[in-house]
Symmetry: C2
C-alpha cells in the first residue's frame, strides 16, 4: 500500500465484541466523522459498574478534525455515550439524526445538563455534506421508528452503513426500507458494505412487527381483569400496537415507569405515537377505573429491579397492585444477561396469581434485526466490493461473513475486524492496518474511567472467596507485636471450626513475624508478603478457599 | 381434619423454587421414604458457592423412620445431594434405583469415599415394599436412559410420582413410557398425581429425541474437517446418536472430558451405549488420525470454564486444538444462568475459525421434559383426584396448575406448594398443613452449611462497591492517634482525585476520633460506628459509591 496518497480510514471503536457501544470513525485527511456513540450495559462480569463506554480517546485527540457525529437511531447502544463524548470534547460538534432520534437524544442531554449542543435534523432521502464526506440517508426498519442507514461518498470510495435494520414488508408506520435507494447506490457503486450482524445466525426471515398484533389483541380482548403490558419504551411501534389493542377493547392505557412516560410523551408530540388524549392516562388517574377497563403499559421488560413491572410484581408499586386473575404481557425478549432478572419477575407475578404471557408462550415479540435471508438480500441489493460485518459478537460477525461468501463475496474481500482495527481504503487498495487506541471505559458512580481491570478483578475475587484483613501492631524498634493480631473477615465463613482457625491464624501470624524479624527483615513489603503467604496456605488447608488477604502492619 | 387418625405426609423439601435440589419426603406413622436427593447449581446470586443442597434436617432428625431413598433417574438434580445426605445419616439406608441410575450413583459415592452404601436395583414394572408403602416402578422417557416414575400405595391413598419425563413416541432405545401401567393405576385409583412441570409453559409436544438424528448425521457427514460434538455426558441417547452418526460417516469417536469418559464407560459396561471398541478411542490415541476421520465427543455444552470444550476453544486442551474449518456441534441448551458462559465459548470457537452448530441454527437439541399437551395427556391417563405440580419454578408450577384446570381437575384439588410445605392425606381429607423445617445449605470449599445469607450478602456488596479498611492505632490511655490512620481499599477506585480523597479521609478519621474522645466515648463499638458513618458519608459525597467500611482500632 502506497503511503503518501489520500487514504480513508474506517475504524470501529466499538460494536464488534458484543451488542453495544457502537461507534465508528471515518477519517480522511483533516476530516473526521463519527457514526453512533453508544453504550453497553454491564453484566455480572462487571460488578458495580453502571455503564460501559467505548474508549474514544482517538476521537478526542483528533477533535479539531471532527465535523459531526451522525446517529443512525435512538437506541442507547447507539446514543448513550453521546453525553460523555460531548463532555470530553473541548468544542461544539453538531449531532445529526432524524426527528425522533434527536427527540430522544434531547432528553438524554438535558439529564446530563448539556444544553448548548447543536442538533441537526436529517431526513431519510436527504443529503448532507460533511467536509469530504457526502451522506445520503435511507429509511430502514428497526424496533424503533425513524431509523436510517447511510450511503457515504468519500474521495476514495463509497460506503453503505446499514445501521440496525430488518426488512419489514408490513411495517406499522408504512415506512418501508428504501429498496430503490439501495439499488441506486449499487448502480453508483458501493465499495464497502457495513451491515448489522445481530441475527446472522438465525435462519430465514425475521417476522414483521405487525405479526404480534393478533396475539396482543387476543390477550387484551379476552382478559377478565387488568392487563399489564411491559415493553421497551422506545419501541414505539410495539407501544402503538398495545395502545390500539387496548382502545379496540374499550380499555384505557395507563402509562407507568419513568422512561415509558417520557418516551410516549416525546413520541406523541412528534407524531410517532397516535392515541387520543382521552385514552391514555397517568397511573394516579387510574384508581377510579375498574380493572377490566385498564391496560397498564409499563417499563420493566428486562426485569430491571427498580422498574415499574418489578415494583408491581413485588407489591411495592405506588398505584398498581397485581392481583389474582390479572394478565401480564412481556412484549420483549431478555437481552443476554437479563434472563435471570426477567425470570425472577415472572415468578413473582405467577406467585401473585397473574397469568404471564411472554414470547415462550405466545407470539408477543419479534426481533428488530434482519435474519440470514434478509442479510443476504441486503448484500445482493447493495452489491459491495468489500464487506465488513458489524454490530455483533464474534459468532455473529463470523456467521455474517459466511453469508457474504454464500452470495459470492470473495473471502479475501471480507474484513472481520476487532474493535479499534483500522480498515484503510485508497486508490491503490483496501486492507486492515495496525489498530488504534481503543478499549472500554467504565462509568462507576461519579467516576468515568477510574475503575479498571484490576479493580474489577478484585471485586470478582472478593465476591468469590471474601476477604481477610490481618492487622498487626509492632514496635518499630524491636519488631515485636505490641498487641494481639486482629483478624477481620467479610464474605467468608469458617464454620464450626471458626474459633480454632482464628486462634491458629493468630498464632501463625506471631510465628511468622518472629521468623521474619529473626531473618532481619524490616521492610514492610517483605513482612506483609510473609504474612500473606503463610495465612493463605493455612486457610487453603483448613477451608479450601482462597480469600483475599490484606496484611496491615502498624508500627508504633 | 381429625388429628388422631393415621395420616400420610407428603413434603417436598426442594424442587419447587427452581430446577434443582429435588427431594420429597413421604411420611406415615413410624415410616418414611425419601424420593430423590438432588442438588442445585449455584448462579451469580451465590458467588463462591460450589453447590446448593436442600436442607434435609427434617430427615436426619427422623432418620430412625427412614426405610429407603428412592431415586427416579441419574441426573445431578436428583442424585447430587445423596453423598451429603448419606454422610449426615447415622445409619445405613438403602438407595433404590434402576441399573444405570445406580451405576452413575456408584461413581459419585466413590468420589466421596462412601463405600458401604447398600444400592438396591429396581426395574420398571417391578414392585418393592418399604414398610407401609408399596412402590410400583414404571418406565418414562427422559434425557437419560432408565428413568422411572412410581405408583405408590399407602394406607390412606395412592400416589403417582412421574419423576422427570416426556412422552417420546420414537425413543432411541425403544423403551416407551408405560401407558398401560398408567391406565392400570388410574383404574386402581390415583389420589394424588405429582408431575414434572419444567415445560408446562411450552405449548404442544416436545419433539422426539430421534428428531435430532438427521441434523447430527448431516453435519457429521458433510464436515470437511474435524467435528467436535459437546453434550451432557449422561445424555446417553444423544451420545449414542453422535456415535452412530460418526461411525456411519466412517469416523472414529474420540472421547474427551472427565465425565464423558466416565459416563460412556459406565453406559457401555451396562449395555446402554452400543459402539464397537474399534470405533471409540481416547483423546491421546487420536493424534495419528486425519481430522476428517474424527468426531470428538466431549463435555462443555454448558460453557463450564474447565471443561474439554472450553479448553479447546481457549487453545489449551492437551490433545485437541480447534482449527479453521472445524465444525463444533453444541447438542444441548444452556441451563438458565449458563447462557453467558456458553456464549463466551461460542465466540472463542468462532474466533478460532470453527463453524458452530447449536440449537439456534440447527435442530441438534430437544428437551427431556414434557410440554403442555403431554402434561395434559398424563393427567388424563392417570385421572388423579388431587394434583401437585412439582419440579419447576413458581411460573412453571402455576402454568401446570392451569393445565390441570383445563382438563377438569377442580381448582380446590390442586395444591401449589412451596418447599417445606406439608400435604397431609388421611381418610377424612387432604390439605396443606404447616410447613416443616426446610431451606438451603451451601457447599463452599470444605464447608457444608457454613456460608449463610449474611456471608452471601457481604460477597455481593463487596463485588458491587468494594471495601475500605481503615486502621487506627490509638493510645489506650489517652485515646490519641499514635500513628497516621491507614486506608486500605480493594475493589474500588477513587480516580484522579484519589490522593485528595485519601488525605481528606485520613483527616476526617483524626477529627472523628478526637470528637468521640472529647465526648467521652471509649467503647470500641462506638468509636468504630463513628468512623464508619463519617467515612461512608465522605465517600458517598465524593464518589457516589458505598463501599463496605471496616474500621479496625488497635489500642497500644
Amino acid at each position: 500500500m502506497v503511503r503518501n496518497e489520500n487514504r480513508l480510514r474506517v475504524i470501529p471503536l466499538g460494536g464488534l465484541d458484543g451488542i453495544g457501544k457502537n461507534m465508528t470513525v471515518l477519517e480522511y485527511g483533516d476530516d473526521m466523522v463519527v457514526i453512533d456513540a453508544g453504550i453497553m450495559f454491564p453484566d455480572d462480569d462487571h460488578p458495580g459498574v453502571d455503564l460501559i463506554l467505548p474508549d474514544f480517546s482517538y476521537i478526542v485527540k483528533r477533535q479539531e478534525k471532527l465535523r459531526a457525529i451522525v446517529i443512525t437511531h435512538g437506541h442507547e447502544d447507539h446514543t448513550g455515550a453521546l453525553p460523555y463524548l460531548l463532555k470530553a470534547l473541548g468544542r461544539q460538534v453538531p449531532v445529526l439524526g432524524t426527528k425522533l432520534t434527536l427527540g430522544l437524544i434531547r432528553g438524554k442531554l438535558e439529564e446530563h445538563k448539556l444544553k448548548k449542543v447543536k442538533l441537526q435534523e436529517v431526513r431519510d432521502g436527504g443529503h448532507v455534506s460533511l467536509g469530504p464526506f457526502g451522506f445520503d440517508f435511507f429509511a430502514v426498519n428497526h424496533s424503533i421508528p425513524d431509523a436510517v442507514g447511510m450511503f457515504i461518498r468519500t474521495p476514495v470510495g463509497n460506503i453503505v452503513h446499514t445501521g440496525d435494520f430488518k426488512l419489514d414488508q408490513t411495517p406499522i408506520d408504512g415506512r418501508l426500507t428504501d429498496y430503490a435507494a439501495l439499488t441506486k447506490f449499487a448502480k453508483i457503486g458501493v465499495d464497502l458494505l457495513m451491515s448489522d450482524s445481530t441475527n446472522a445466525e438465525t435462519p430465514g426471515v425475521t417476522r414483521s412487527e405487525a405479526s404480534v398484533g393478533p396475539a396482543l389483541r387476543d390477550i387484551i380482548e379476552h382478559a377478565e381483569q387488568r392487563v399489564i403490558a411491559a415493553s421497551f419504551s422506545s419501541h414505539i411501534h410495539r407501544v402503538q400496537q398495545i395502545c390500539d389493542a387496548a382502545v379496540g377493547a374499550g380499555r384505557k392505557v395507563v402509562v407507568a415507569g419513568r422512561s415509558m412516560i417520557t418516551n410516549t410523551k416525546i413520541a406523541r408530540e412528534l407524531g410517532y405515537l397516535v392515541i387520543d388524549d382521552d385514552d391514555i392516562i397517568d397511573a394516579y388517574e387510574a384508581s377510579g377505573l375498574a380493572p377490566e377497563r385498564i391496560v397498564v403499559m409499563c417499563t420493566g421488560s428486562q426485569g430491571e429491579p427498580l422498574s415499574a413491572l418489578a415494583r408491581m410484581a413485588n407489591g411495592d408499586h405506588k398505584t398498581v397492585k397485581v392481583e389474582r386473575g390479572d394478565t401480564v404481557i412481556i412484549a420483549a425478549t431478555p437481552v443476554p444477561g437479563n434472563e435471570k432478572a426477567v425470570n425472577r419477575v415472572i415468578n413473582r407475578l405467577a406467585k401473585a396469581g397473574a397469568t404471564v404471557a411472554h414470547r415462550g408462550t405466545v407470539h408477543v415479540h419479534v426481533s428488530g434485526h434482519a435474519a440470514a435471508e434478509e442479510l443476504k438480500l441486503m448484500l445482493n441489493l447493495v452489491q459491495p466490493k468489500f464487506f465488513m460485518p458489524i454490530h455483533g459478537e464474534t459468532r455473529h460477525l463470523a456467521a455474517h461473513a459466511r453469508l457474504a461468501e454464500e452470495v459470492g463475496i470473495p473471502t479475501e474481500n471480507i474484513f472481520m475486524l476487532d474493535n479499534g482495527d483500522c480498515l484503510e481504503m485508497s486508490e491503490s487498495g483496501t486492507g486492515v492496518i495496525e489498530s488504534v487506541e481503543h478499549g472500554v471505559v467504565y462509568v462507576d458512580g461519579l467516576g468515568v474511567g477510574d475503575v479498571g481491570q484490576v479493580v474489577l478483578r478484585d471485586r470478582q475475587l472478593l465476591a468469590q472467596d471474601g476477604i481477610v484483613t490481618i492487622v498487626v501492631a509492632i514496635d518499630g524498634q524491636t519488631g515485636r507485636l505490641v498487641s494481639e493480631p486482629e483478624l477481620v473477615t467479610r464474605g467468608l465463613a469458617f464454620g464450626p471450626e471458626g474459633d480454632v482457625i482464628t486462634a491458629d491464624a493468630q498464632a501463625l501470624v506471631a510465628t511468622t513475624l518472629a521468623k521474619t524479624f529473626k531473618e532481619g527483615a524490616t521492610d514492610q513489603a517483605v513482612i506483609k508478603k510473609a504474612l500473606r503467604d503463610s495465612l493463605s496456605q493455612l486457610l487453603w488447608e483448613r477451608t479450601r478457599r482462597r480469600p483475599m488477604i490484606i496484611p496491615v502492619v502498624v508500627e508504633v
